[in-house]
């Protein structure tokens, strides 16, 4: 089918890039490429929410952090002091906990990575519903500010609790054994398999999301973007559709956070920061707003450049700048607008 042609191209590109790094002996590129894959999950999820359903979120780094921090905390921090709590007692009975030893040989208690992953996603879903139900009643600037507020709260919580490592974040996070022989980890020998895992997830998510936007639901989402009242009058439960989309994009951000944290072996508060949320929004905007492939491509290019340190100490400023320029000259997004129309607009303003 025609609409899946870009997906085939994506898979080919992923393979070609890996082979290139091998032939040119630049395997060190695989690390930023893998990280970029996970960030791409956040970006395409946000693209669905912003570009198609028309709802902005300036708090998506918060969902990324909920996934990453919870998974890191449960698999790394010693849960022994909490052993008597009802929840952990239950987990123990279900065999979800593992006894380990810390560096000094003292017994410690952690959660299995699969169980931690499940908890993190569940927590994300609950938080996304709890935030989404009141906040998605708002529109435009108000929605932007409310989601920004949510992002700030998550950021401050990550900084405030010793369990989350305060300003240092959490390090020493173990790998996440997904399948026999395949673990999400920064282990040098599994660089290639982790690269394919990350981009395989991107391909899968793209397949799901492209299907979705071409479905009855996707059409309703675009209609909500265009005229919400008239969409409701067509029998679309607009509030529920916006909420479901918000939760889906939050879960994608959370999964990205979980996997990237196990891959990096840790997470720090900067991942929860406002500038990260702004960065995601800027990338969706420069990708063309209602353009999943545009967001994916622009996100990949900019993230790799950023991770390779090409923006130097101006890293955050670059993304802030992108956002300003897009909002001034192409509020509909960059890819997909006609350039001549933009120039006309600029000149008309100049008069």
């Amino acid at each position: 089918m025609k609409r899946h042609l870009p997906l085939i191209l994506l898979i080919l590109a992923v393979i070609v890039v890996q082979l290139l790094t091998r032939w040119t002996d630049t395997a060190f590129y695989l690390t930023p490429l893998t990280m970029t894959g996970y960030y791409s999950l956040v970006i395409v999820g946000l693209c669905l929410l912003m570009g198609y359903a028309g709802q902005i979120s300036l708090g998506h780094a918060g969902f990324f952090a909920i996934g990453g921090y919870l998974s890191a905390m449960l698999t790394t921090k010693d849960l022994m002091p909490l052993k008597e709590t009802l929840l952990l007692g239950l987990c123990d009975k279900l065999g979800l906990l593992v006894q380990g030893q810390d560096m000094l040989g003292v017994a410690s208690l952690q959660m299995q990575p699969w169980a931690a992953c499940g908890f993190a996603i569940l927590a994300t879903i609950i938080v996304a519903y709890a935030i989404g139900i009141p906040v998605l009643k708002l529109k435009g600037h108000y929605l932007a500010m409310a989601t920004l507020g949510f992002g700030i709260i998550v950021y401050r919580l990550a900084l405030a609790f010793p369990l989350f490592g305060e300003a240092d974040g959490i390090s020493g996070v173990p790998g996440f054994p997904l399948l026999p022989g395949l673990a999400v980890s920064g282990d040098f020998n599994s660089r290639v398999s982790n690269y394919y895992l990350a981009w395989g997830m991107v391909a899968l998510v793209m397949w799901l999301l492209v299907n979705l936007i071409h479905s009855r639901v996707g059409r309703a989402l675009r209609a909500i973007h265009g005229a919400e009242g008239a969409t409701n009058a067509m029998g679309v439960d607009t509030a529920r559709y916006k909420l479901n989309t918000f939760v889906i994009s939050a879960v994608l951000a959370s999964i990205a956070g979980i996997f990237l944290t196990h891959y990096n072996g840790g997470i720090g508060p900067s991942e929860a920061g406002i500038m990260k949320s702004v960065r995601y929004v800027a990338i969706v905007a420069i990708g063309g707003m209602a353009n999943l492939w545009g967001a994916l491509v622009m996100g990949a290019v900019l993230n790799i450049m950023s991770l390779r340190g090409m923006f130097g100490s101006y890293d955050d400023a670059v993304f802030g700048g992108i956002l300003i320029v897009i909002m001034l000259f192409a509020p509909q997004g960059l890819l997909g607008i006609s350039l001549s129309a933009t120039f006309k607009r600029i000149f008309r303003r100049g008069e």
């Binding site: 799901l208 999301l209 299907n211 979705l212 071409h214 479905s215 009855r216 639901v217 996707g218 059409r219 309703a220 675009r222 209609a223 973007h225 265009g226 005229a227 009242g229 008239a230 969409t231 409701n232 009058a233 067509m234 029998g235 679309v236 439960d237 607009t238 479901n244 889906i248 209602a290």
Partner: protein, 255 residues
């Protein structure tokens, strides 16, 4: 009764936009609501479709109360509408606009849409075919792939009508369907409304064009400053003193 409205009120601050309005619509008829600008006709439609909640009063559709329900619930029960100020979805083709109207007659959800299951693809194809057929019925099949908001005014009206028909409603509310159209287009709209009605769809119509209203409607309700001042057949309304006074001005009526 298909639609039953009793003692309906709606205030906007100090303004009574709809005041103690009661009437009902029998299944199968074309009923018109007329009245000067600002009489409360569009507000009445907004109350029936749930876009606005009434300040007080009750609305029954097929014997069930619908006042206070969300618009999407009322739509699912079989009430469709068009807008006085056309509300099409920008960035979507005429066909896609009409396909949104099919939403309440189809069921693919988030999960089945993402997985693109066989039955959802079949359903999608059926939606597309049905909507192309409707565009054909309104003589705009050749515009299916054109962005709806870039069409000519009359064509946009037709797309909106097709979108409402795609819902297969039992009650169709048309808010000034002939506004801004020339006499030929207006005659075409009149023919179309009669044809839709002949297929068993009950029509409630707001319209300023008196000849259109008198030609096609079975009953007429007259509103003025939010209040119902008359109700009856077209010939009764044409001879109603109060209506003549409002439409022709006080001086003419007193003689």
């Amino acid at each position: 009764m298909l639609l039953d409205i009793k003692n309906l009120y709606r205030r906007f601050g100090g303004l009574q936009a709809v005041s103690d309005v009661s009437f009902s619509v029998r299944p199968g008829m074309i009923k018109a609501v007329i009245g000067p600008n600002g009489a409360g006709k569009t507000t009445l439609f907004n109350l029936i479709t749930g876009t606005l909640p009434p300040s007080s009063g009750v609305i029954h559709f097929k014997g069930q109360p619908i006042h206070g329900l969300a618009p999407y619930r009322i739509a699912r029960q079989g009430v469709a509408r068009t807008y006085q100020n056309i509300k099409l979805y920008p960035g979507m083709t005429a066909l896609e606009n009409v396909m949104v109207g099919r939403h309440c007659r189809s069921r693919a959800g988030f999960l089945s849409g993402m997985l693109s299951l066989l039955w959802t693809r079949k359903e999608e194809k059926a939606i597309r075919e049905k909507c192309l057929e409707l565009l054909g019925l309104l003589d705009i099949a050749d515009l299916a792939e054109v962005e709806a908001t870039s069409l000519a005014f009359g064509q946009q009206r037709a797309v909106e009508l097709a979108r409402a028909l795609a819902m297969e409603p039992e009650l169709l509310l048309l808010d000034e369907p002939a506004a801004g159209l020339n006499i030929y287009e207006t005659a075409e709209v009149a023919r179309l409304i009669t044809k839709i009605n002949a297929q068993g769809i009950t029509v409630l119509l707001v319209e300023h064009d008196m000849s259109l209203v008198m030609d096609i409607s079975h009953e007429i309700v007259v509103l003025s400053f939010g209040e119902k001042i008359a109700e009856g057949t077209p010939s009764e309304i044409q001879h109603n003193k109060e209506v003549i006074r409002i439409y022709l001005g006080e001086d003419d009526a007193e003689d």
